[in-house]
Symmetry: D2
Subunit: 342 residues, 4 copies
């Protein structure tokens, strides 16, 4: 099977990571690479790590350029995918790494992103209950945000099994690459090196509704989420510390059993041995998520810590995993659980 | 006034930071510098940044070496201060940067540190209600841990005013220097660079009882604390994200007013302008703590983020501030609110 | 003595560092703070580490705004100082942190910066032979570039004493703050974290003519300089590795003696004890430069390694040191040799 | 073809990187994993990034444990390989990542490492002239040090073609992983973060004789080498800035042509397009080396900058590449030129 793939937004970080993974995918042939302002330049100028594609010339992101492929990945700024997707062949697998098709609720969309809501596509987080069914054969897929991927993998089992109260507190420490290649004052190296900072505090981060709606679905009742992202001086990686009040009687062994069961057959989710806590380093470049949990009886809370690579499992790896499902390929094709450490 | 000061543990990070500040203190003359295994070597070998003291020779940490000073700072491993302090002149101001005299409860001490409990000394966090009274003229002072300093400054006003429920969740992102100059596998640079990791999760961090007891005192009722430290690839700095459920009706303006009032006259606590969030970089090398808060009505929580330098305000700066109070000097003598950034 | 000081370019990194040092200077009163595009905003938005000046409002950089001060520091982009300086009172001490007045040779200026050459002002590197005489009472001073400061301090004694051939190779590892607060793609954190990169290789870095001309003056014959800057993932600091062929018979002891003599009375230059090599960390935030040297007899070269903080001794500290000399104040006033480490 | 492979020293950084690459090698089956002090523990404790091998138990490093494999990689401290290798089957391919068999000259060995010299094995740098012939079918291979690999790839063509004088200056900026997982005071994170430092200056670094002897062979006359390593705050990566005086008449185009020819058919060496300079980030996790050069006519020098990942191409990748040659497999099997960036 040869799958011909195009990537729109190939000069950005998500686009670069998609290409890194696709180069290692045995069934994929890389077709058109498109960009916005960088169209006409070679990929090597933007992605010097992708040697085999260095001479490829970026074309403008247009429906015509993306036509004739089996799969089209969209790695575009939020709000740019909807109009484009409308003009792509319904038989093409279109996988959007942006936010356009992640939310079911139009009011949420309008509040957080503005403009008309384009709808919701099957959600590219295969580990969620029922997700694989909706992804098999799908022709349109919305890849989750990197924070929701981390948090949902860390907490869905607890909410689904009802072992915690529906009141989640998340602090997500993230590297800078999640913000893309944007030239923003707070993202220049001199500001980031040697510093940690909070941003989007108090329920004002755009990933909040995506979290809330998915957890509410898992719990079968409304879940409240307090989410605070913290920027740390590293390029890749998210470490999310998630906690919620336990229901009476839950102890660590029982909590562990909930997670063990939920993830026993998941190829990319690894519950670490008791006593070992996740490090983002161990997941870099891989599609793995590492989990560990504790029950703090005095505080009355379950704490789950999850680590992953925001560009891989948090974006491009999740996208390729979803592509595999959509095409009927083995889900792990071209993906690895081996990180690049130290 | 000339205050003659000795530092025990001068070859470590806390000792080095004490000396950095004492060199800039106009009333201080630096006397004996002592160490354990490094005794007999020059300070310059261990603290190359302290040029003016490079040739000073470290002596053994003994009561005799520390005698004859007005102030003795102890920057020793936990459990080493109590025996030593007993043999120091009761008229000397002894300021312990370790944990030996931080806890009031003997059961807490035995559980978390082991061995006999040495008692509790006046707590060197002047911004706490009533603390300045207990520090004025004190001859024995226990400097708080760096995480408790951060968290207590971030949350005491809210608990004291009763605007939140007594149920605190803290995730404290910290640099590596808080762990001291220890040769531990997880602290070598290759493990830390490019990685975030959690440790001491689930109520098993030693700073928890110090937090709980002080907050319970402030709130006038038991406060439960879930505290998770996260190690980030930076040398200095703590960024603590603290949240608790709000009481009905609390909005951001009211919460802001609580903090504005509590800290209006505090020289080292700075509530940032609305919309600006703390970065640890802005506090490095200074005795300042920067705060910002938000009320997330949907999550029903007050979130307070605090940033400080763990070695300065979190340890050595707090110690010097307390010394100033004990000696009747202006509290800010020799201390600065100006950070070294970027 | 109260010296009233204005800073033009107060929102940038050099401007911020000037203000950090000026806040600690006992004879200085900080007057007008000016900026370009940021005029009208408060300083706190740009320099959150400068708490005491947070509420100060930036004004437009005009001759009128800068009038009425004893000293005006210019921390502007290259090419902006000349026109402005012309309109400032000749009795005012004007200290330019940019390149406009560093070069004596008009052809050099035109080649490297373009536009008409404004001339050369006394060079603000007091440790150079004869520099203090030209700075005493000066009303116009050009602060050296940070790489030239490092390299000239590292190598001038060897060239002046003729113990090396006039053929210098320098590799200068630098943090990112030397590039200022510019929004350039290669300076965003994701590109810098975890990476080292060379730039301006092959004699095309603007600091080359400044190096060559000063070393030629010291050596009394033409010195050739090969200079390569390397960007490393740190905010502050320059570590320059400088080497040149030795003249016959030079050994390490003799080389050491040359440096010992040259810098015996220099308050800010520290030749480290034999066997100890400089780290940039030990100099951060201080006006110190740390040196060490070796003679490699097999390679036939003297190697000198120098470390300093590019923003302090490399820019703002050197500027304040020069101001002190111009005003007849003790040269070390308001400056420290104590770094902020670790 | 299934190649059964053992790794001695599996708990260290070189061992971990070997296993990372071997897991992706289509012809390899991973057999015994051995260690020193860590024998008896699971690999997951030491290498959390190697998920698929997490449960594998480390055995003692003995000839018996390593018997019965087609290939044995030795990733041991210097001086430990020789005795062990003697007891391994002569038909087994033994690939030593340590220094024991890198040097031809016994006097060099005794001077730099001490103890009896074990001899020299075929040198695992296939890109050197004649190396592939000596590696084809080899049963004993010595993998070069990471600095020699970088420098030799950067400069051998220039010396072999005689376009530079035999007088090389190298400054090699390196991440911390090259030092292994050692608990040394200068390698703890607090010392490394935010700092650059030189070490082993003045011809006292052990990699010097390896450099000198290989370059002398390439040049056909003695080459003098001044080599200075600089430690930078990153985990992986070497960026070497190499320069030598040019012979009369050499210009950039001619130098470029020398390198273009030398590396036209090399799968892992990439001469970047003119104007683009190497970054270590672009090579991380890959077996690629990126080169760029300039001729500085005023300084009269050729400057070549090389970047690679010290653990991959600099150690484990070079070892696997050599294994492929020894076994008659396609040289690039299991190796990639795609880096993990940003």
């Amino acid at each position: 099977m040869t799958v011909r793939v195009a990537v729109a937004g190939a000069s950005g970080y998500a686009g670069g990571e998609l290409l890194r993974l696709l180069l290692a995918h045995p069934e994929v042939e890389i077709g058109a690479l498109s960009a916005g302002g960088s169209a006409g330049t070679t990929l090597g100028r933007h992605q010097p790590h992708l040697g085999p594609l260095a001479e490829r010339v970026l074309v403008d992101t247009t429906p015509a350029a993306l036509a004739g492929h089996d799969v089209v990945f969209l790695a575009l700024p939020h709000g740019h995918s909807a109009a484009l997707a409308d003009q792509l062949d319904p038989a093409t697998v279109v996988i959007d790494c942006g936010a356009d098709f992640r939310l079911a609720d139009s009011a949420d969309w309008e509040r957080w992103y503005g403009g008309p809501h384009a709808g919701r596509w099957p959600y590219g987080l295969p580990e969620l209950p029922g997700a694989r069914e909706s992804l098999a054969g799908a022709r349109r897929i919305a890849v989750p945000g990197c924070f929701p991927t981390t948090t949902l993998l860390a907490t869905t089992p607890a909410f689904a099994e009802g072992v915690v109260e529906p009141d989640l507190v998340v602090v997500g420490v993230t590297g800078t690459s999640g913000a893309g290649r944007a030239l923003k004052p707070h993202l220049i190296a001199s500001e980031v090196l040697g510093s940690a900072s909070a941003y989007g505090v108090g329920g004002v981060h755009r990933h909040t509704p995506e979290l809330t709606s998915n957890l509410t679905a898992a719990a079968g009742r409304p879940v409240r989420v307090s989410f605070t992202p913290v920027l740390a001086p590293m390029s890749r990686g998210i470490l999310a510390t998630c906690s919620a009040p336990i229901v009476a009687g839950l102890d660590e062994q029982a909590a562990r059993e909930v997670y063990r069961k939920a993830y026993a057959d998941e190829p990319f989710v690894r519950l670490l041995p008791a006593g070992t806590w996740p490090t983002t380093a161990a997941t870099i470049g891989s599609n793995a998520v590492h989990l560990q949990l504790a029950v703090d009886q005095e505080a009355g809370r379950l704490i789950v810590v999850a680590a992953l690579d925001n560009l891989t499992k948090g974006t491009a790896g999740g996208a390729v995993q979803s592509m595999n499902l959509a095409l009927g390929l083995p889900e792990t094709t071209g993906l690895s659980t081996v990180g690049v450490a130290p």
